[in-house]
């Protein structure tokens, strides 16, 4: 072969390659092929009913008191992928902590008011540090509500340490409460439920659970009350935890409201899911809970994408705390998101979001 012919072949090869490449990339992704090959978002419109209103009280959103100490504990254990039961947390000598213990917890009281005027209470998560949670439950009268059977359900969003390890604080007052969990608990989390003791973190539950346990399979919608449903997501939560359940409510005449523990599936994913699956889901009235964006004041430009797009969802009232992170809240406020303010009491440090003892009415 002469070099001319090879050069000719080369150019021909390049030309064929370019055309093929065009069809492989741009061609296929043009609108014609797209409409055939990319699945349309299937819009269902599940009717979960409606309710009159919701009152939410943050019992504790201070999952831990010192970010710096918390991150060091994880670093010493070997990073964020190490199982939560394999981490030695700082429980003594932390200046910002509760009696020197860095552990706090996340727990909220939700009261639903139905169309007929009747009411039901639900306890979302049980925090982490049993002493701290006991104190907060007593300060907010949760202890009496539990004893008097005023709380219908204990709803555990997921078995992360700061949302679940404090179960003893709730069982102290009512060990036979009805409990709902996502059906993806870690094996050790079940052990804790039946009276387990883990000396390393350290965490224990001296009061074995005696009530009814309802497990929710992932990727499903479970109607709980008129206008209230539990929605379960299959999502990685970190430190060995998988799957989280969320409360989705439909407030009559106002729109939908979401109540989350951590929102590990992501706020936009949650809002998109509701828009595509729940009747009336394109009108978002309220958002409450941990939103898991910058829990340790860690950042990622992906979070800026969220801050730049969240306003498109026209959330009327956004009440967040805990793992949402102060940086996120400051950035959201700066772009005009209607963030509900708190009062910075009971060891919550700042008033830019809903803190310990603060209430929101939806």
């Amino acid at each position: 072969m002469t070099s001319n012919i090879t050069r000719g072949n080369f150019l021909k090869g390049m030309a064929v390659g370019t055309v093929a490449g065009f069809f492989a990339s741009q061609g296929i992704s043009s609108t014609i092929f797209r409409s055939y090959l990319v699945p349309e978002k299937k819009r269902k419109s599940i009717d979960i009913g409606e309710l009159k209103g919701i009152t939410i009280k943050t019992i504790s959103e201070t999952s831990w008191f010192d970010n710096y100490v918390q991150q060091n504990d994880f670093k010493k254990a070997g990073g964020s992928l190490v199982s939560q039961y394999d981490v030695a947390f700082s429980t003594k000598g932390v200046a910002a902590g509760y009696q020197g213990n860095n552990a706090g917890g996340y727990s909220s009281l939700i009261e639903f008011e139905f169309m007929d005027g009747s009411k039901k209470k639900l306890l979302l998560d049980t925090g982490w540090n049993v002493d701290w949670m006991t104190r907060r439950y007593q300060e907010e009268g949760i202890d009496k509500m539990l004893r008097n059977n005023e709380i219908d359900v204990l709803f555990i969003s997921h078995d992360h340490y700061d949302h679940y390890w404090g179960i003893e604080a709730a069982f102290k007052f009512k060990p036979d409460i009805t409990m709902m969990i996502p059906n993806s608990f870690m094996e050790n989390s079940y052990k804790l439920l039946s009276g387990g003791n883990f000396p390393k973190p350290p965490i224990k539950n001296a009061i074995p659970f005696k009530g009814k346990l309802i497990k929710h399979d992932l990727k499903k919608i479970y109607p709980l009350y008129p206008g209230v449903a539990a929605v379960t997501f299959a999502c990685p939560c970190g430190r060995g935890v998988w799957g989280e359940q969320v409360l989705v409510c439909n407030v009559a005449g106002k729109g939908v409201a979401t109540i989350t523990g951590c929102c590990h599936m992501g706020l936009i994913t949650l809002l998109e899911y509701i828009k595509n699956n729940i009747k009336g889901g394109d009108k978002v009235y309220g958002v409450y809970g941990g939103l898991h964006i910058s829990p340790y004041d860690d950042w990622n430009p992906q979070n800026d994408d969220l801050v730049r797009t969240i306003r498109n969802y026209k959330v009327e009232r956004l009440a967040c705390n805990h793992c949402t992170g102060y940086i996120t809240v400051e950035k959201m406020i700066a772009t005009g998101v209607p963030v509900v303010k708190g009062t910075a009491r009971n060891k919550t440090k700042r008033d830019i979001y809903l803190g310990n003892g603060d209430t929101m009415v939806l």
């Binding site: 670093k75 990073g79 950042w299 430009p301």
Partner: protein, 428 residues
């Protein structure tokens, strides 16, 4: 005696036939991988360096060290036959392996962390970030992310420079001055690439945005995200394209115009085009599987993660291409070029698909990672880059021992100098 192009001039032969030897060698390589992973990386193991970026940074620079040692430096300054052909392959390989590890430690700990991180750009040093009151997680992950990205950029420039610019000027100046000039040119381009493609990402990683020290990401309008995962994914796909063309397609079609003055440009643009096809093709497959991404969403729906994952899938493909090329000698070779290429394309395509399924089904159990396609701690390339580094080291330093042996050792005993016969630098 000096051996200038050992990998090009040595002749390898399977000891027990192509497939038995290939399978044995893959098993040996993967065993070494599992041991290294358990000791250094696994979050359930001893050192627990997969945090993920902490361990990933070292893996990335180990890979760069291996690439530099052979492709750029041609084993200089140790081209003496005693260290190249004299010793038992296992011993010789182990020495080169350790030298690469030393180079890795020098680049990561001394150059990037101590010098640049300590005296110039704080985000390169965990200690500096800690002293600036970043928490332990941010300090560790951010600094090692930056270190990994410089390494990733270097690992892209090396094959461009070596395969398409003939490792200029080292190809003509086969002495220390030539090799070092090539290396410096590669480092220069990698630095410029890093500053253009990744530095803006790191500028907005801190709060408040470091707008006087880094530009706002210029790709936002193009990519619909502020994250440099857009650039990163594209660079990964380009890296994969460079190697797949070189290994699976034996350097075609660029081989046909080897002496044409526009050959370097054709090679660079042609591989970039192939990289773009991989990048957008894998992006499109994801849209078919998971629907269109949504800006601001996390996990599989995130815009930036889709770009990253296109790059990751491209590099999965590269891994299969390399395993097939290195261990199974790019079987088949007996038919016409077109038929060979077609069969290999099917093998690499199916292999990538199977590996993808396997990886995401078992990575949590085998590697100790978090399950799921997308999560903030899932970096499949930490593991696959280590496999690639071991595979390349297996060929270049260990002469594919034990599955293969060098058959022309006696040639390197007395002759003064042996150079590569063709202009093409050997990669296998």
């Amino acid at each position: 005696m000096k051996i200038l192009d050992w990998v090009s001039v040595r002749k390898l032969e399977s000891r027990w036939g192509l497939f038995p030897s290939g399978i044995l060698n893959v098993a040996v390589m993967l065993t070494v991988f599992m041991i290294l992973w358990r000791v250094f990386m696994d979050p359930r193991g001893m050192m627990r360096m997969y945090t993920p970026m902490y361990g990933y940074a070292y893996v990335q620079w180990f890979l760069v060290a291996v690439l530099i040692a052979w492709l750029v430096m041609r084993l200089w300054p140790l081209q003496n036959s005693s260290l190249v052909s004299g010793l038992h392959p296992a011993l010789k390989g182990a020495i080169w392996f350790c030298l690469c590890a030393l180079f890795m430690l020098f680049m990561v700990n001394v150059v990037l962390k101590m010098m640049i991180g300590g005296m110039s750009i704080p985000y390169f040093s965990e200690d500096t970030l800690l002293s600036l009151k970043q928490n332990a997680f941010n300090a560790r992950e951010y600094s090692h992310q930056a270190i990994t990205m410089v390494g990733g950029m270097t690992a892209l420039i090396i094959p461009i420079w070596v395969l398409h610019l003939k490792n200029w000027p080292a190809r003509e100046i086969q002495r220390g001055s030539g090799y070092l000039t090539s290396l410096m040119l590669i480092f220069f381009l990698a630095t410029v690439g890093f500053l253009l493609l990744y530095h803006p990402h790191l500028g907005i990683l801190f709060y408040p945005w470091q707008v006087y020290a880094a530009s706002m990401p210029w790709w936002e309008g193009l990519a619909n995200t502020l994250s440099s995962n857009f650039c990163l994914g594209l660079m990964m796909s380009w890296t994969a394209a460079l190697w797949i063309i070189q290994v699976t397609y034996e350097g075609y079609p660029f081989k046909l115009i080897d002496n044409h003055p526009l050959r370097p440009l054709a090679g660079i643009l042609g591989t970039l085009l192939f990289g773009l096809i991989l990048f957008s093709g894998f992006h499109f497959l994801q849209e078919m599987a998971w629907g269109a991404p949504v800006r601001g969403a996390k996990l599989v729906a995130a815009v930036d993660w889709r770009y990253l994952h296109s790059g990751e899938t491209s590099l999965f493909m590269l891994l299969i291409s390399l395993i097939w090329g290195f261990y199974f000698k790019n079987w088949p070779r007996q038919y016409s070029v077109e038929v060979n290429f077609l069969i290999r394309t099917v093998i690499v395509g199916v292999g990538t698909f199977l590996f993808y399924i396997f990886y995401y089904k078992f990575n949590a159990g085998i590697l100790g990672q978090q399950p799921g396609y997308s999560n903030p701690l899932q970096f499949p390339l930490a593991a696959t880059s280590l496999i690639v580094a071991l595979l390349l080291a297996h060929s270049w330093f260990f002469d594919m021992w034990p599955g293969e042996k060098v058959t022309n050792l006696q040639e390197f005993v007395a002759e003064p100098e042996v150079t590569s016969p063709a202009g093409e630098p050997a990669t296998r």
